[in-house]
């Protein structure tokens, strides 16, 4: 037995472990120091890409939003944008703004979710309960807008399913004010807690050049001082007309990643206010499909504020070709690549989620950290196994 083997203890963290998520972390520890850590992913692979080849285009909308729990709207948006590019259409302005509204609501929801998981991983059950409780507000508002709590399937090629319900703006303003009141509370109990700071500051530092080299995306990239945000770089929907900052920090440690998310929650609150103020009037479905709806259904639609999905949308047949769309989801950039062979089913769907690009961070950041840093770093990169496994 070599001296290395005598020192090293192989620790299998997960998949049955309180903080491993749906994956196995193969850690090699030397005393309290983690020598290497390899994430073994794939436990929740559900063949989204292959299943997509057997479904109509509109049936794929619910499919792509299943893997990224809490961040469903952004993935939905990415897919729908890709299909629209394939069809050569664009949603009317009001639909674009409503999409942006739900995407930002979902970003707040997803960040609160991530912060809660991070909290419980560090042992702060209060942070967990508070953020998970307050995420309910965004769920409730999304339910009023879309009729569903988590998997909205709100955006369809050509528009959105529902119009803004009456009184939504006032209710939303109340919700946002409540959230703004709560953020200082989180700060007191969790972000500025001396124990949290001791656990996170200087832990898992990701250097700027490493972040770029490894292809990290989203808040994790921005926490290393790279102001890269698809919403600014390649604006889509209503983002060009919204006034918002890209939140960045220079430190690149776990604390910075946490605080970037907090900053993004604040930015999203601002954006939702702007959207509700500037929301343009008009139809919420593309003209081409709106024409296909019979007049009596048009009355129903005007009364209910909903879309009757026309048959042409159900069996969409995009022309032969391919399209790419990328959007800034809560956890980072998500890319959809759709190839059509002219049939009602896509020839190929490629879905690149932010989590699969951020999982490499584990191996990179955890080297020479402590055993207790594994959950601290895990929570800080907001990695979500089902999203990575698809």
């Amino acid at each position: 037995m070599s001296s290395r083997e005598e020192h090293i203890l192989e620790l299998l963290i997960g998949p049955q472990h309180p903080a491993s998520g749906h994956m196995r972390l193969v850690a090699e520890v030397d005393g309290d120091v983690v020598v290497s850590l390899k994430p073994d992913i794939g436990y929740v692979h559900r063949t989204v890409e292959k299943l997509a080849e057997t479904k109509n285009y509109i049936q794929i909308v619910p499919l792509v939003e299943r893997p990224p729990l809490a961040d469903t709207a952004n993935h939905n948006l990415g897919y729908v944008l890709a299909v629209e590019r394939l069809l050569g259409i664009e949603a009317p302005p009001r639909a674009q703004w409503l999409r942006t509204l739900l995407a930002e609501m979902n970003r707040i929801h997803s960040h609160l979710y991530g912060l809660g998981i991070h909290g419980i991983m560090l042992g702060s059950s209060t942070a967990f309960m508070w953020t998970f409780g307050d995420r309910e507000i965004m769920i409730e508002m999304a339910q009023r807008l879309t009729g569903a709590r988590l998997t909205y399937s709100y955006m369809i090629p050509g528009g959105v399913r529902r119009d803004l319900p009456p009184g939504f703006a006032e209710e939303m303003e109340k919700a946002l004010r409540y959230l703004e009141r709560r953020l200082p509370d989180y700060d007191k109990i969790f972000f500025s807690n001396p124990v949290t700071r001791a656990r996170l500051e200087g832990v898992g530092v990701l250097k700027k050049e490493d972040a770029i080299r490894l292809g990290i995306v989203g808040p994790n990239l921005r926490a290393s001082g790279v102001p890269y945000d698809i919403r600014k770089v390649e604006p889509y929907c209503a983002y060009p007309e919204l006034d918002f900052q890209v939140v960045t920090r220079e430190e690149g440690d776990s604390m910075a990643r946490l605080l970037v998310r907090v900053g993004e929650i604040k930015e999203s609150i601002n954006m939702i206010r702007q959207i509700l103020k500037k929301l343009p009037d008009g139809p919420i479905l593309e003209e081409r499909y709106l024409k296909m709806i019979p007049p009596k259904w048009k009355d129903w639609m005007a009364e209910k504020g909903r879309i009757k999905i026309p048959a042409a949308l159900v069996s969409l047949k995009p022309p032969k070709g391919e399209a790419v769309a990328r959007v800034e989801a809560a956890r980072g950039e998500v890319v959809f690549y759709v190839v059509s062979d002219g049939s009602p089913k896509p020839y190929r769907l490629r879905m690149v989620t932010p989590s699969i690009r951020n999982v490499v961070l584990f191996e990179h950041l955890i080297r020479n950290c402590r055993v207790a840093d594994i959950p601290a770093i895990y929570g800080s990169i907001d990695y979500f196994p089902p999203e990575a496994d698809r």
Partner: protein
Amino acid sequence: MMQIIEWLMDLLLSPWVFVPLVYPGLISAFAVLLFIIWLERKIAAKVQMRYGPLYVLKQLGGVIQLVADLLRYLFAEPIIPREADKIPFIFGPILLFASSYLSTVAIPVSYDFYAFRSDISLLVVLGITTLAPAFNLIIGWGSNNKFGLIGGLREGYLITADEIPMFVTALAMAILYGTMDLVKMVEIQVDWAWGILLNPLAAVTFFVLMLFSTSRFPFEIVEADSEIVMGPFTEYSGILYGLTMGASYVKLYVLSLLFAILFLGGWEPVPQFLSGTILGPGLVLFAKALVVMFLQVFMRSVYPRYRIDHALRLAWHILFPLSLVSVFVSFAALTGWWL
């Protein structure tokens, strides 16, 4: 017949049976265990805007929830892993629990009610409580689980770091009072003032060290569930798990009683309506200990957990020097310079 009952009552109420068996010994330790865990969960629930335990005896806010849990533990099958070292695996939790509560025998509950009076009862209490974590190490080793092993080793690091300052802090109070007899300590506090006023530094240090040695937040490092599942107790189930979980709370109870005697004037002052009764002083002491326990378990709602190297650095670099300084504070208080 009457004589037998009388004899039995005499035996039961005699201090050397009553103290280890009823108060502050086994039965009240169990009662406190059930109550304090419920209280901890209820406080956390209040802070976190939820109900906490509720449905077992709803009228009183689910106060007997832990009785239900205990029954469940009793009837659950204690699974003993095939690869585990059987004898330490089974006897570890039992000895852990026993050594946690054993030191209650040396705790007096009034001037004339104690199992035995000794010149060094302070040392006896501290000495026996220090014994308990050693069984955590044995449990961690015996359960043949890597998480258990790491948890046991963590316990090993932490006891050396927290028990030494704790002894020194207690020693500071012993120097101040000029005795290690807990009964005499209370007498002296009646003459002078509460220990927390005489030596506040020692009180604060002792309080933090209590959090440390009973693995309360932010020092819940041994059982850190997001890192090492349940530490030394990972492989346990059924009543054996119940014992391991209860042991740290019982230790908290013992140290809270000790804290009340060292710093909070023990069973003095006894209020007017309780004076003269045999239970009065005991109840006062109990109430003070409960307040201390309340503060200790409240930390769960406030703090995340420290990393072990931070905690060790805190213990050796800050708490240990502070405990030494508290010895000098005691000397200063003795010379009258302090007051």
